[in-house]
Homo-oligomer: 293 residues x 2
Amino acid sequence: MPAVPGTTRECPSDSTLKAAIDERLGEIVETIRHGLLRDALRHAALSGGKRVRPILSLRCCAMVGTSWEQALSAGCAFELIHAFSLVHDDLPALDDDDMRRGRPTVHKAFGESIGILCGDLLQSLAFETAAGSVHGPAITRELASATNAMIEGQAWDTDGGFPEGLSDAERMELIHRNKTGALIRGAARAGAIAGAADEKALDRVDRWSTAIGFMFQVVDDLLDETQTSDHLGKTAGKDRDAGKLTYTAIHGLDGARSEIQRLRTEALDALSGFSEAADPLRTMTQELANRTC
Amino acid sequence: MPAVPGTTRECPSDSTLKAAIDERLGEIVETIRHGLLRDALRHAALSGGKRVRPILSLRCCAMVGTSWEQALSAGCAFELIHAFSLVHDDLPALDDDDMRRGRPTVHKAFGESIGILCGDLLQSLAFETAAGSVHGPAITRELASATNAMIEGQAWDTDGGFPEGLSDAERMELIHRNKTGALIRGAARAGAIAGAADEKALDRVDRWSTAIGFMFQVVDDLLDETQTSDHLGKTAGKDRDAGKLTYTAIHGLDGARSEIQRLRTEALDALSGFSEAADPLRTMTQELANRTC
């Protein structure tokens, strides 16, 4: 059967995409002159993360556009914001975590002042990268909007201050949709924008990524309850012990498992209008629903 | 005498410009839904700062362009970065300051976690504002470049890590040109860019703002030695007591005074190619050289 336009997008493996992402991130970090800050940036951004957000960008771009490379800067910008959020969330005044990805957190390895400044610098590097990407102005707006929401989500998680009249379930959803969901949704949208998606395709990507963004956090909550620290590379059971508003704390383990199924279905439904060009996103949906670390 | 083109730029008073800046900053802060974060943002960004950076942007824009309003977003973006830097620099792990502009610092008033998140949010709001400004992509690049340099400057100030072989005087200059100078230079350049400056005008603005950026910090170092905390609205003598690399610590009070004169002359020289359209910048040069708080 001859190739049908719109179904023959280049579709490299995750490891190919990760290698391209890591290479670009490495180039960005090397622009920094301050030795200790550069080491801290390497520790924070080049330490083998899963690269979920930039891979989302690249795969959404490849689905709607001509090449995943067009979204490389956009994806890396979202990864840098993710890295910044981890570095600051780990600080003693916030989540106070000593370990991340099986290694000391940045402030543990480099001291608290470098921890704060490293996070700050990751954010400005993210915006510099977004501004230089294909469709830079639109990507920068997506990045800013997602970052604002993420920080508000973290503030609700750490300091409360919810709008009046919300139930615990609604508060938890507000945290999750902002703290984790906004960046995942933004990364997917930015990838589609870099690929010059039309309005209809962007709307589908928006629906899909909103579903998997929430699913990602529900899976996180489930893993925090069911896996060991060694397996996760970070402290397990910490959210529960801190009395945080997690999905499992409110709806239980079975509630979390059935919500993951519901969100998986919702995400796949959002992709139903796409041909096999969306197959990599379908695979990602399954992988994110089934992940164990 | 009839008005000569290029010499009749609208030139409102500082208080008119400050009112416009404060109004725009207020609109930006009000977009945030989290109540405590919004209060912290107001405390950090709407508490009567001198607005040196955005006024620089507006006056540079008015000098080269048709209207200062074109640089309002660009100027506010630089003010938001300045506000973010103050909030984070005041944190216990960095400069550990309790007072700022005669009031408690953000982390003292709202707690350390909100202090960190408020600074983070000021940065993302800054980039959102820059991206939405006239000539947004170029303004965003200026902002990112200045912010990167500022953070590196803060890291040299707090954590050392200088390139090898630098004297104390060279180290001090590296700190000052990055920590304070980069943002002042960037704000002036961004204003000129918003006003569609040609290359020659932008080059002059660059020379002028590089001189006044360094001068601003030498004046700061002098005031830190010679003024009371009450007068400054922040803790005086703190840099000296902390053994920081200030201009006065290395070159003495008289050395600082003569450097301020030298930089004033250099700044005015950079403006010599402009007609009376540059008079507001000449006035600013004198005011910044003579300021007492």
